[in-house]
């Protein structure tokens, strides 16, 4: 009796599953499914009950404000963090990932938000270091050849034998991208890969992404540049405060919808800056040269002006900034400050003259990660926060930090939290606060909106405008061409360390500046 019953039940279950499986098979099966994932860091809830799926042959975009939990999600996908609850399902099998090696074994590879290259290895090795099944011995010749091929696909010209130490951030990012695309992956996760790339490289990257999509790879793409998202993605998923707000095919979403979902409220028109009233010249640079980096750079920077710097990655814009700020003083040429010739040999001198520089690599140069937000913000002018005995006045310091937290809406439970625990965008705001706190007269912004969400980006833009109105002279280096165009009064275009001209905002357009930045040759190649 009993056994028959059991048999019947078992058969029924079996049938059910058989049918279920049949239905499932006919649908495209997700390669990677995140099911009800939650994760919190102390009091911060980074993710709550997030479910999403990645399908082969799909470019899936993930957008959301800074600190929405995007990076956290992908770190869970690659086994760096373990979720507090929820499951990761790979090809239908629930899996627990404990390390990124494990994730890679499952065909999941990621480019992380902060590029992590091996400074002592050369570029080719950096690309191939985590490749599996390379055999026991290293075949250097083959590795160089393969590396060249991969870089060619990205159309970047880097010496594959060069050490990665000292590579500019953008080049590091290209290496990371090369590493990821050269792998044999089924899921490719890219956390803000384009943050420091300029239009040309982005175009190349998108070509490759489209190829991968055609090959059936699932691509998860994170970016704060909505234009890019709409250009490349098939599906857009929006996060806010650790929750999944919506996930729709791209054609069902408008830019306004997306922003509303991200910010939680509708936003007005994109910020448009009015040209400012140009005052006297604060900083002027004549024939500045640094052997092997740039030469013959000359420009005037007026109080209240935003002077944009456009160019491809590696064109030398950062080097010019570093020379102006005294970190790598120029070999030739002259800098005038308030019409007086000056010789800036160290950042300290520059800060004394009230020049501030917001570096492009915030982790290496901008922040002291394990220290508190407050301590980071007051760092360059510590002496102002100490009494005669050199004892730090904590209350004063905290007050400053508190002010900036409100002014720049830094999302954090406390200003005593170490900066390491903030999301990328909020870290950027801390660096910005730090330099604003020095009350600069000349503010050099190197990729100030790198990794900043739309809302915050607009805030930064407003802030730049405000600062300019207050009479601060601003050098704005950005690879985001629309940003440069929208924010600058005049634009200096740099190509391979040479100044290609200074364009007036009223007359310049995107085509023209791109043309100058790339030179004729590349333009032709691009069109071909």
């Amino acid at each position: 009796m009993q056994s028959i019953n059991l048999h019947v039940i078992l058969c029924a279950i079996n049938d059910f599953y058989f049918e279920l499986a049949w239905i499932m098979d006919s649908l495209p099966q997700p390669v990677l499914q995140m099911h009800n994932i939650s994760k919190s860091f102390g009091a911060t809830v980074a993710l709550s009950n997030v479910s999403m799926s990645l399908y082969p042959g799909e470019v899936h975009a993930l957008v959301g404000e800074n600190g929405a939990g995007k990076s956290t999600l992908i770190k869970i996908m690659t086994g760096i963090y373990q979720p507090d609850s929820g499951d990761i399902i790979i090809n239908g099998n629930p899996t627990r990932l404990h390390s990124s090696a494990q994730a890679q074994a499952h065909g999941i590879a990621a480019i992380y938000q902060e590029p992590l290259v091996f400074p002592d290895l050369n570029i080719a090795e950096n690309i191939f270091i985590s490749h599996r099944r390379r055999g026991f011995l290293v075949n250097w010749g083959k590795m160089y050849r393969d590396a060249k091929k991969v870089l060619k696909r990205l159309d970047v010209d880097l010496d594959v034998r060069a050490q990665a130490r000292g590579l500019p951030l953008a080049a590091q990012q290209t290496v990371e991208i090369a590493k990821a695309i050269s792998m044999d992956v089924r899921v490719l996760i890219m956390d803000e890969p384009t943050a420091s790339l300029s239009a040309h490289e982005v175009t190349q990257l998108f070509k490759i992404v489209r190829n991968l999509r055609a090959e059936g790879v699932a691509v998860l793409f994170i970016s704060h540049r909505l234009e890019e998202v709409f250009e490349i993605a098939d599906r857009i998923t929006i996060f806010r405060d650790g929750e999944l707000i919506s996930s729709r095919p791209t054609h069902e979403v408008t830019r306004e919808d997306a922003i509303r979902d991200m910010v939680g409220r509708p936003m007005g028109k994109v910020f448009q800056r009015q040209p400012s009233e140009v005052e006297n010249v604060v900083l002027s640079v004549r024939d500045l040269s640094h052997r092997g980096k740039f030469e013959g750079i000359s420009f005037d920077l007026h109080a209240g002006e935003v002077l944009g710097f456009a160019g491809l990655i590696g064109s030398g814009r950062t080097d010019i900034a570093l020379a102006t700020f005294g970190i790598e003083p120029a070999h030739d040429g002259q800098i005038y400050f308030d019409n007086k010739p000056v010789n800036i040999q160290s950042p300290r001198q520059a800060i004394k003259m009230r020049i501030a520089y917001l570096p492009e690599d915030r982790r290496q140069h901008g922040l002291v990660l394990p220290m508190s937000i407050a301590a980071n913000i007051t760092l360059p002018i510590m002496q102002d926060y100490a009494n005669a005995l050199g004892i730090v006045q904590n209350e004063k310091e905290r007050q400053t930090a508190q002010d900036y937290r409100e002014k720049l809406s830094i999302r954090t439970p406390s200003i005593d939290l170490p900066v390491r625990k903030l999301s990328g965008g909020n870290q950027q705001k801390v660096v910005l606060s730090k330099w604003l706190n020095t009350v600069p007269r000349v503010l050099i912004l190197d990729e100030p909106t790198r990794g900043i969400d739309v809302g915050a980006k607009e805030e930064v833009h407003r802030l730049i405008d405000q600062l300019a109105k207050q009479g601060i002279a601003i050098m704005l280096i950005s690879s985001d061409l629309p940003e440069v165009l929208a924010m600058s009064d005049r634009i200096v275009v740099i190509r391979e360390g040479r100044q290609m001209g200074i364009f007036d905002r009223a007359t310049a357009d995107q085509e023209q500046i791109m043309g100058a930045a790339m030179g004729q040759l590349e333009m032709e190649r691009d069109h071909a």
Partner: protein, 346 residues
């Protein structure tokens, strides 16, 4: 220059710079000391270098991963004593077995270091500063404060250091230096051509990135410590063969000599760069200075000060030569880059 560039990578500039310094040092002492360029001097340096060189190779692997192994002296002491004890109890142990015992004991001690560092996530300097004392304590316990005496050893090990494997122009190749050269060559190849070797560089270069790149860092680090331990064990064997009389103080303080040699040899103490060959030259450099100072018959009380000064000067010159070579390098690189550009635009 382009051809040269093709064969020499930037990282190898360091070795070139070290070789230049070594040549300068030898030239300097050659002028100061009569009969300096003799086969005898070569033989002295060769035998003196052997022990430290072997241990420095292991240390290099560890330092490459941004770790340090301070327990090598104690491991050498312990294995030397342990092996001596075994040999005196069973005189029919042969060479192969003896080496295997020494390497095995050393590797075990290295394994303990490696496990605690890699899987216990305790900084290596903490671990090996601890085991430096603990292994020495073990030795004292094990020995019961007795010593190993020359007469207790079997004959083959007594004569081992003085055997000559190959001789030419009075330059002998004896077993101990031969071991050192062999070990150096093997690990130079391992570091350059194996995945394991390259991963050691990667780990030391950026531990965080290594973790993210899916490199099994812990296993690699552990392995580096095991190898360092095993080579220290081999060093223990060499120490026994060379010194013959082993007390509980054997090889005390060796770790500082080894670290000095590795560091002078251009291995970055913060990991990620340096080669076994460089460390080897570092050992030769220091030993040459030491032995030449002995030969120079300068006042006993001046030797330490001069040695310290010489090391400092060597490091200084190295820094400058390196800077110069690097500058030269990047200039040729630039020239090449611009010439390529021209070819393209034509």
């Amino acid at each position: 220059m382009r051809r040269v560039r093709y064969f020499i990578r930037v990282q190898q500039l360091r070795e070139i710079s070290l070789l230049l310094i070594l040549a300068a040092v030898i030239y300097f002492f050659g002028r100061e000391i009569e009969d300096y360029y003799t086969a005898r001097m070569y033989n002295r340096i060769a035998t003196q270098v052997a022990l430290i060189a072997v241990i420095a190779v292991g240390q290099t692997l560890v330092v490459l991963t941004r770790n340090i192994d301070l327990s090598v002296g104690s491991i050498v002491g312990f294995t030397a004593f342990y092996l001596g004890d075994q040999l005196s109890k069973n005189p029919n142990i042969d060479l192969e077995t003896a080496v295997a015992i020494a390497v095995g004991v050393g590797a075990t001690m290295g394994l303990v270091n490696g496990l605690i560092v890699a899987y216990g996530r305790v900084p290596s300097i903490v671990v090996t500063l601890g085991t430096l004392a603990i292994y020495r304590g073990l030795l004292v316990e094990y020995s019961g404060s007795q010593s190993i005496q020359f007469r207790q050893l079997p004959d083959w090990i007594k004569t081992l250091p003085s055997e000559v494997l190959y001789e030419n122009f009075g330059l002998d190749l004896r077993p101990l230096p031969a071991i050192a050269i062999g070990v150096m060559l093997v690990f130079q190849v391992v570091l350059l051509y194996t995945i394991f070797g390259r991963r050691l560089y990667a780990i030391g270069s950026s531990p965080e990135a290594a973790e993210l790149a899916g490199i099994p860092s812990r296993r690699m680090i552990m392995l580096a410590f095991v190898i360092s331990g095993a080579l220290s064990g081999l060093g223990g064997f060499m120490y026994l063969a060379r010194i013959g009389t082993i007390t509980t103080d054997a090889a005390r303080g060796l770790e500082l000599q080894v670290v000095a040699a590795v560091v002078v040899g251009g291995v970055n103490i913060f990991g990620g760069s340096g080669t076994v060959f460089g460390a080897f030259i570092g050992v030769i450099l220091i030993s040459t200075i030491e032995l030449s100072l002995i030969r120079m018959q300068i006042n006993e009380f001046w030797k330490d000060a001069l040695l310290g000064a010489f090391i400092m000067v060597a490091v200084l010159i190295d820094t400058f030569i390196m800077g110069w070579l690097r500058a030269l390098w990047s200039r040729t690189e630039l020239r090449r880059a611009s010439s390529v550009q021209k070819v393209q635009s034509i």
